[in-house]
């Protein structure tokens, strides 16, 4: 396995970093918080203009035809700035699901809307905090003429208020199995409710459907859909989340290093105190460790290697911990101002806590890895 970054990949990463440093500034992020965590102008620029959402979409659907590895490189950068856009939900959560379970006719149409039309998309995950987020599905779909009637409640859908497209998995009422429905927000606007999330840059809202009528064409799956059908595409969401966390950990460390270099106490830059230096070095080590596994897991996913699943579990654990630690240390090393609204460390702390237990807690992920070790499982 070669983990070299190509010239193209390095260029893409640098450009993304440069672009976001300019556009997803602290001021912009803070402004978006008042706007339910969404920056429409930034979104337009990176989706419609720069075409980032097509990163892993096949070229025949208007995408760039690249893979998980390149997706990860972009998500690190959005994570670094806590960019208030539905990028992760669109490229990591929704796109792989369309790609993986949609019937041919729907797939190309939907993917090309994502790749080219700046469509923001999300998925109503039945249980976002569970190791298997599809383990119990509450939405139901009842045949209704040519269409369907959907009912059910999802307590927290990522980026729902900004989404142009929402995928809803539902139990079919007429026969065993599941259906996947693509819903336009207009149809459900009245029944969505934004939540007061601790991490405003990754907004969530609840979604209640009560016999909402949708067309037959809304159902996009190819038939024979099972909960297990989601196992493969959800790996992309897990990986992407880890990428954003690792990017955020690096962004948070940069923030801290900048502050430390400027702040004088006892007549010295705080950055000159050895204990502070060692703690920053430890953050770099943790982040680097997480990033290495992230890249390896992404390459495994692209190579369809069967180590990918547990590597993604591992990367999730390291990423969540690296971000938590970076945020906790940022607040501590900023001293008094680290506990004020005005400084940015708390934005990273919020992201760290809000994402720590997505797709399963650290303990659950590690337990699943332990179960998979042949020596242990026997």
């Amino acid at each position: 396995m070669d983990l070299s970054l190509s010239e193209d990949q390095l260029f893409m990463r640098d450009e993304a970093k440069r672009f976001l440093a300019e556009r997803a500034t602290s001021e912009a992020v803070r402004a978006s918080i008042a706007a339910r965590g969404h920056d429409p102008a930034l979104w337009k620029a990176l989706s419609s203009e720069l075409g980032w959402c097509g990163i892993a979409i096949p070229e025949n659907a208007g995408g760039l035809g690249l893979g998980a590895f390149e997706m990860v490189l972009l998500l690190e950068e959005t994570g670094r700035r806590l960019a208030p856009v539905p990028f992760w939900a669109t490229v990591s959560l929704c796109t792989p699901m369309i790609n993986s379970v949609a019937a041919d006719e729907s797939r190309l149409a939907l993917l090309s809307r994502v790749a080219s039309d700046g469509v923001a998309a999300t998925v109503a995950l039945p249980r976002p905090a569970a190791l298997d987020p599809f383990e119990t599905i509450e939405f139901t779909a009842c045949p209704d003429g040519d269409g369907w009637k959907l009912s059910g409640f999802c307590p927290a859908v990522f980026n729902l208020m900004a989404a142009d497209l929402v995928l809803v998995p539902a139990k079919l009422k007429d026969k065993p199995g599941l259906g996947l429905f693509a819903i336009e927000p207009a149809a459900i606007a009245a029944t969505t409710a934004p939540l007061d999330a601790i991490d405003s840059t990754m907004p969530i809202a609840s979604l209640r459907l009560s016999d909402v009528t949708v067309s037959g064409a809304s159902r996009i799956d190819a038939g024979d859909l099972q909960a297990s059908s989601f196992v493969a595409p959800i790996q992309w969401a897990r990986l992407g989340l880890a990428a954003e966390q690792i990017g955020a950990a690096s962004g948070c460390l940069e923030l801290t290093l900048n502050y430390l270099a400027e702040r004088i106490q006892f007549g010295r830059s705080i950055a000159s105190f050895q204990a502070v230096k060692h703690r920053c070095a430890e953050l770099l080590i943790r982040t680097g460790e997480a990033r290495s596994l992230l890249y390896g897991a992404a390459a495994s996913l692209d190579a369809d290697d069967n180590e990918a699943a547990r590597e993604i579990d591992g990367a999730s654990v390291l990423a969540a911990e690296a971000l938590w630690r970076a945020a906790e240390e940022a607040i501590q090393l900023h001293g008094g101002v680290g506990n004020t609204w005005e400084y940015d460390p708390h934005l990273y702390l919020r992201r760290a806590q809000a994402t720590a237990d997505l797709f399963g807690s650290t303990e659950e992920k590690l337990a699943r890895i332990a179960d998979s070790l042949r020596e242990v499982a026997a």
């Binding site: 999330a197 001293g335 506990n339 708390h346 806590q353």
Partner: protein
């Protein structure tokens, strides 16, 4: 006081709390603690007067200054029973616990007569003006200037104090300022008492990460302290300031721990209710929290012990670090017990309490001396390791 008498005393406090922290004061139950410090200010000021009426303000002050001269054991018992009953955060704490003892030790007769009674009666509330933007960890690096008004002999103060807790609810502030031009560090400082309600003072709230604003920046622009409001001599400000801080340790600690115990109970209860307690890692952390709290209790008792055990004295240097990290970890544990339910605001006031606890406890390891400063102090004063050199600037 015998063990039996102490038990009776505890019962007396518990009874009083039960009868009085009810009716119109019922909303104060468990309110106004760190992170919620600005809650219900008018009612809490009334509560201070209620306490005064019951004879429960300043119970440790000597009787000649209006206190009850309670022994340490009794003061501890009072603090514990107050907290156990869910007594609200004390707006009078700075006056009663810090300034009062300082004036009793260092104040003039006139100062004692002027300032002690309204503290005891819950009529005047105090806040503390120590920290500055560049005098945080480096506390002696004070830039706020006091110059003498040649006409009146009053002191005119210009500068900025930060992290002033509850300044917006207070009447007076005590301020450490530089009164000798060109002096540096702990030399040439003065300790002044100043009314907040005057033209030269502006109070700006500091918004904290959890959204609350119980701290403030206080700006002084030729603000006036009257000539008779100097404690100690001009130039002795550092000595007075440090003596004041030394009154803070000890007794209130056990009351604080009782509050911690209530928080741990709440977290454990929620863990049982929502199933998190079935997770062995959460159980492990709950048990560790219990162990840590128990160790803190005995550390406090060692600190309060009469006989000087040099080992206890040395180890007590670690107490700030110990409780603040314990509490910060508890805040995180609360969130982890809530799990995904903690990611957004909830209708359950208990969950809201844990979210606030999480945010506020981030500051415990910073305010009142950062952990880094604590570790320096332990290493240098406790273990005799070489001092950290100062830089050239500053």
């Amino acid at each position: 006081m015998s063990g039996k008498e102490l038990t009776a005393f505890r019962a007396e406090v518990a009874d009083w709390m039960k009868s009085n922290l009810s009716g119109r004061f019922a909303p104060l139950l468990d309110r106004g603690h760190a992170g919620d410090g600005g809650a219900l200010p008018d009612l809490r000021k009334d509560w201070e007067r209620e306490l005064a009426t019951g004879g429960w303000t300043c119970p440790g002050w000597p009787s000649e200054h209006g206190g009850r001269g309670l022994s340490i054991a009794e003061q501890v018992a009072f603090q514990e029973e107050y907290s156990r009953a869910g007594g609200p955060g004390r707006l009078g704490h700075i006056g009663e616990g810090l300034l009062g003892p300082t004036l009793i030790a260092f104040g003039t007769e006139e100062q004692k007569q002027r300032f002690l009674p309204p503290i005891r009666e819950g009529r005047e509330f105090w806040c503390q003006g120590y920290s500055e933007p560049d005098a945080g960890s480096d506390l002696a690096n004070i830039k706020t200037r006091a110059r003498r008004d040649p006409e009146t002999g009053d002191w005119l103060v210009t500068g900025q104090k930060v992290w002033t807790s509850l300044a917006h609810l207070s009447d007076w502030i005590f301020v450490v300022a530089r009164c000798e031009e060109g002096s540096v560090g702990p030399y040439g400082l003065i300790f002044l008492l100043m009314p907040l309600d005057q033209d030269g003072i502006e109070i700006h709230p500091i918004r904290q990460i959890g959204g609350g604003s119980e701290f403030n920046s206080v700006f002084f622009d030729n603000a006036r302290a009257s000539a008779d409001c100097v404690v100690g001599q001009p130039g002795e400000g550092w000595k007075i300031a440090m003596a004041l801080l030394s009154f803070e340790r000890g007794i209130s600690t056990l009351g604080q721990q009782m509050g911690f115990a209530r928080e741990l109970d709440l977290i454990a209860t929620l863990a049982r209710e929502n199933g998190a307690a079935a997770n062995p890692m959460i159980r492990d952390r709950l048990a560790r929290a219990w162990v840590g709290l128990r160790a803190m209790r005995y550390m406090a008792l060692r600190m309060l012990a009469q006989n000087a055990d040099p080992q206890a004295k040395l180890e007590s240097l670690g107490y700030k670090y110990q409780w603040s990290h314990w509490h910060r970890d508890l805040g995180k544990l609360g969130m982890d017990v809530l799990g995904f339910a903690g990611v957004a605001a909830s209708d359950d006031p208990r969950a809201e309490k844990l979210r606030q606890l999480f945010f506020f406890t981030r500051a415990d390891t910073v305010y009142g001396g950062t952990s880094e400063i604590q570790l320096n102090i332990i290493a240098e004063r406790g273990l005799g390791m070489p001092k950290e050199p100062r830089g050239e600037a500053g």
